[in-house]
Subunit: 360 residues, 2 copies
């Protein structure tokens, strides 16, 4: 067995000890005689798995009691519809467009009502976060929507928008559990787990209870109603059991590591190694305005598409996987989620230095 | 490691060699240096996994070229909405109600249009399949819907309904790949994989291409449009990669076993052992009309709730798990899917005999 350094934007690297435990428990989960894949979702043993996962997540994020935690399916893309279907009481919502995923969420909301673009950074290829301290926000909006960390462009809100009293809804797929958050500032925090938490196929929705309503938009599928899922504690139908089990293991790992404050320090330290190198390099440069840089996704370019391709190919041969930038941006991108060890970032920077010398 | 005989109705027993392979490949999938959980869904290696899974499924089921195979999320329950949203052009569909899941699908369809009950077996606790050879079927129905194998009640259609030219839509969750089918007789065959194929979190939809339309009902979420998923070969967003990988392994196992004709023989042989015992037992009896008996789910009772509970408890202590009947039916149920070995059924019958002697 030989593991690479995997800089994939998602699905992405998971902690090795989590994978080892999962492999060890594959045939027989803790003496129950079956795999977690084979057990009834109504069994006591699975009930313990999902309850413990939720309790650990609540503990890690300090989720207040008036918020529900839902383990759902369909990824963030399905939430792009579920959010307006559940929350658009007045059929009007505001979107801040900071990248492709916010744009997709914005487009989907237009199916269900009036979606207003409150701000955008499209003018500079989404390379920054707009000033959201004093936006012109219509009174009758049902919510203000953001994508808090933009995986493709490598930007992150360092300050949440001033929503002027409106409910904040945030897609945190690519910064989930990367640092502490104040959940009480949000109405809904949600994200696909396949970047920072677990295998693709689980999306976690953390929602304030007063937003869980029965009077959703007409035509909302029963499965997409938050009330259906909240009333059934995510067991309205068979949930993605194995994915939830892996998420639970990652929560335990995060707690063992010291929780989200420690993860933030580690993530800042890792990102600094890479950004400091980029800031002094004569070959590579970062693409994002400094104050908006993500700790999770670091895009960079040489300015020469052929050289970019050469770098990606040579990096791959040296055991650095998935460094190619998103197809809509080009260049390179290193995603350095919680489970990427500091050694991986150090090794990447050493490789970049060598490449720079060889291609000066 | 000690494995039990797991008679769960779903999630359910998987082939041991599939689980062993998955455990072996957990840290490093075939030399690529990462787990299948960690790899980009846009990578070459995952593309090979999903393409091969689809090719093997097409081979096993002899799926004609004019049918698409979609790997989706949300389970059958989400399809209960997706089907009318995509197919209810005239806003009218017929449902044959043979159990709780057909009933739920029927109720969901009413959100989107006129849903007509064409037949039902509710009068006898869904213990039989109604005669569907000459139903009164309105001309303008968009489709006729069935649940082909009823997990809770243990019934199975032995002959498909005469739909009088209308599109047939079938939920085959609990008989998926248990025997050969003629796909060309259906417009849509779909099912959650967590009973006979893989881990919960994947639903497979096999749909005739002419039914994949752009003019779905207004308000249909982009993710629930079959066209979205078909155009993107199930990669519109991140699919449930790890679940698809396990399904692929089960497809390979089925091919190695000899394919669906051989599985049918094996399943008939296994079911006969149990039904023959029930038919001569003085203590236990089956609950389903003989000609409608499922090969997959075998409900039975003693007629005494206390004795049923005693049996379930003693069976569990002896290593026979999940024999308790569904909460809406009571009694016992043995689900004997593809991956349940004949030895498991023989051991169960031996245990039942002993229990009968001891409790005569």
């Amino acid at each position: 067995m030989s593991r690479v350094y995997n800089f994939s934007a998602g699905p992405a690297v998971l902690p090795e000890e989590v994978l080892k435990e999962a492999a060890d428990e594959m045939m027989d989960y803790r003496g129950c005689g079956m795999s977690v894949m084979e057990m009834s979702h109504r069994s006591k043993v699975f009930d313990d798995i999902i309850k413990e996962a939720e309790a650990d997540l609540r503990d890690l994020m300090q989720i207040p009691d008036n918020y529900k935690v839902l383990f759902l399916q369909g990824g963030a893309s399905q939430q792009f519809a579920a959010i307006p279907m559940n929350l658009m009481k007045n059929r009007k919502a505001g979107y801040i467009v900071t990248g492709q995923w916010a744009k997709k969420a914005f487009a989907e909301a237009k199916i269900y009502g009036e979606a207003v673009e409150l701000a955008s950074s499209a003018d500079k290829t989404f390379s920054y976060i707009p000033d959201c301290s004093d936006l012109d926000i219509p009174e009758d909006l049902d919510y203000v929507y953001i994508c808090e960390n933009n995986t493709i462009y490598g930007t992150k809100y360092k300050t949440l928008p001033n929503t002027k009293g409106h409910t904040l809804v945030a897609d945190v797929s690519s910064c989930f559990l990367s640092e502490p958050v104040d959940v009480s500032k949000y109405g809904v925090i949600y994200g696909g787990v396949q970047k920072n938490i677990g295998p693709a196929g689980v999306v976690i929705v953390i929602i304030r209870e007063d937003l869980i309503r029965d009077d959703v938009l007409p035509g909302t599928p029963t499965m997409l109603k938050y009330k259906t899922q909240a009333d059934a504690d995510s067991l309205y139908n068979t949930p993605p059991c194995y994915g939830i089990y892996i998420c639970g293991k990652v929560f335990k790992w995060l707690k063992k590591m010291g929780g989200l404050s420690v993860m933030k320090e580690r993530n800042e330290e890792k990102a600094k190694i890479l950004y400091d190198f980029l800031d002094q390099s004569k070959l590579f440069k970062g693409t994002v305005r400094k104050e908006d840089r993500s700790l999770m996704n670091v895009p960079f370019v040489t300015g020469d598409a052929d050289l970019d391709a050469k770098f990606v190919a040579e990096a791959k041969a040296a055991g650095f996987e998935n460094l190619k930038g998103h197809r809509t941006v080009g260049g390179m991108r290193a995603s350095i989620y919680n489970a990427m060890p500091k050694e991986g970032v150090e090794a990447l920077v050493a490789f970049m230095k060598k490449f720079e010398e060889e291609n000066a």
